[in-house]
Subunit: 335 residues, 2 copies
């Protein structure tokens, strides 16, 4: 098998966008395509199918060369938890692409992890609007998860939970049940309101309740950075919850003894306040785990996992080629 002739496709199908790359077996990426959301839980299958086929075919048509062969396609997809979903995608890919290739469908969280571990086993902690921690060993396909039970039953430590706690503190101050907090003024300013009771209509009549509540996390983070006690308690609790997700996960599965890389992703970590406090607490409570924010987007993780699936070692040379070719392609992602 000549690796420079083989082609590998990695796809990241998320809630708002779908990215797809194609490259050879030695780390050279040759094309990047971009489509709309392909989350199977929030879009009808006919639409997801259309986005997938357009993204993949655009990559395949533009990124291969004469006489090159398709080897493996790795799709990291949001909302692909159920075996039925994966089978449906598999069948559709077999119609779409040259047959006898390997098609792998897994959660988009695993792609995000691989983009930080170069395809080595590891743990990913995601804290955006929601939260979840997942461990994955690409070699054995062993997978575990903790958390991620959604805004009503879980998502501890997420932007939604931080925002919700902030809004609740604000209403407790308003009611006289709780102390003063700087969160109040910040939320009122952010949402152009006169007083806390206006939250009710704004939040409950909002089509995107989850997103709206999570937006209030900004006010909590800013208040915490200024030393507000209520906000600091909320942030500390959230970080404690996220640490607990990782701790619990570290005790699961066969890799119990080893210290895995801990990849962190999601909008909350974009806040330097949050990231640095998380890192401090992780150093205390998660000895041996050094949280890293991946340099590459999840679509690169998918491509790396496609290579791993074909037993290709991600050598230093492969990494260098990958980084160089990605830098050449990434301009396209910004339109």
């Amino acid at each position: 098998m000549r690796l420079s002739n083989q082609r590998f496709i990695g796809l990241d199908g998320g809630g708002s966008k779908t990215y797809c790359v194609i490259g050879d077996g030695e780390g050279r990426l040759t094309f990047l395509s971009r489509g709309s959301s392909s989350n199977m839980k929030s879009k009808p299958w006919t639409e997801v199918r259309k986005v997938l086929s357009e993204s993949i075919m655009e990559c395949w048509d533009n990124g291969r060369e004469e006489e090159s062969e398709l080897n493996t396609v790795f799709l990291g997809m949001a909302g692909s938890d159920r075996p039925e979903d994966r089978e449906r995608i598999g069948c559709f890919l077999e119609e779409l692409l040259p047959s006898n290739r390997e098609f792998v469908v897994r959660s988009d969280a695993l792609s995000a992890m691989a983009s930080g571990t170069w395809g080595e086993p590891g743990i990913i902690l995601i804290a955006g609007t929601g939260s979840i921690a997942t461990s994955y060993n690409p070699a054995t396909d062993e997978y575990h998860r903790v958390g991620g039970w959604g805004y009503v039953l879980g998502d501890e430590g997420s932007g939604y939970q931080i925002g919700r706690s902030g809004l609740i503190s604000m209403l407790h101050q308003f009611d006289g049940r709780g102390p003063y907090t700087a969160i109040t003024e910040k939320v009122l300013r952010q949402w152009k309101m006169d007083n806390a009771s206006q939250l009710i209509t704004y939040v409950y009549e909002n089509e995107e309740l989850r997103k709206t509540v999570a937006e209030a996390a900004r006010a909590v983070l800013d208040s915490a950075a200024e030393g507000d006690q209520v906000a600091n308690r909320i942030i500390d609790e959230a970080i404690g919850e996220l640490i607990l997700l990782v701790e619990t996960l570290a005790g699961k599965g066969s890799r119990r003894e080893e210290r895995s890389p801990l990849v962190i992703a999601g909008g909350l970590f974009d806040s330097e306040t949050f990231f640095s406090r998380f890192r401090e607490r992780a150093a205390e409570r998660l000895a041996g785990f050094d949280p890293v924010r991946p340099e590459f987007p999840p679509v690169i993780g998918s491509y790396i996992l496609a290579l791993r699936r074909a037993d290709i070692a991600i050598t230093l040379q492969v990494r260098q080629r990958l980084a160089e070719s990605w830098n050449a392609l990434r301009g396209q992602i910004k339109e």
Copy 2:
């Protein structure tokens, strides 16, 4: 003014039913009507209007006598918080009924309170699917509230919050993040599930998410009664939150020094476990408040408030007539 010739109408417009009674100025009830929901927040105004006019006219046509006069109508209505809503109801009643009468529209919580205080000033604590505490002085119309900010931002100590905490504990056990709890088995049995991860589809794809989550409170209460530690912590916290609502309210308004009657209502207090534990904690933390469950439904509170509005004293004799005539009418409520 001959009080036996005067007629007073009390209406309780709730989320599932509307009750209406008519009686004279001396405590004699003569008719009870029943209609569907008249919550202005969950039904279009044209429908609410139809339910109100049918309920009231049925009472007026059947409960008055020759030469009797309409004096006051008191409507306790769910979802009537905004002044615009009250004005709209007021205008419509003026068209419907003999003019120059007094029409009063207030929250249905105040009717529930009056049914327990015989129209004296007091506090009502409601803990059903949601929770809220309200104080009201019928003589001055002074009104305060604490809590009741809905399932996302408030409702502390409610059935929803207890159910939610129970389901979260169950998922923490499932994840390995939390200890064993008897809640798990009870919820799985109640909802005919094999394991906790099935909660996700069941809860999030349910049209009545709030009600569904609140149903899990039953499993928490049963587990607490059997000594389950996790369940007991949830129940203790919920009771603490409810006590805090009352404490905060007791510090508001002009009646700070006096000990008001504390009326309790809502489905949670139907549980003897919950009621007796609440009463114990109230005795410790709310000195002077002795929680009472009203003997009468809120529609009777509305009628009492109509009498109070006309400065009629609720003497022992009035109370006796009211209790007797209500016992004669209440059979109708059970069809």
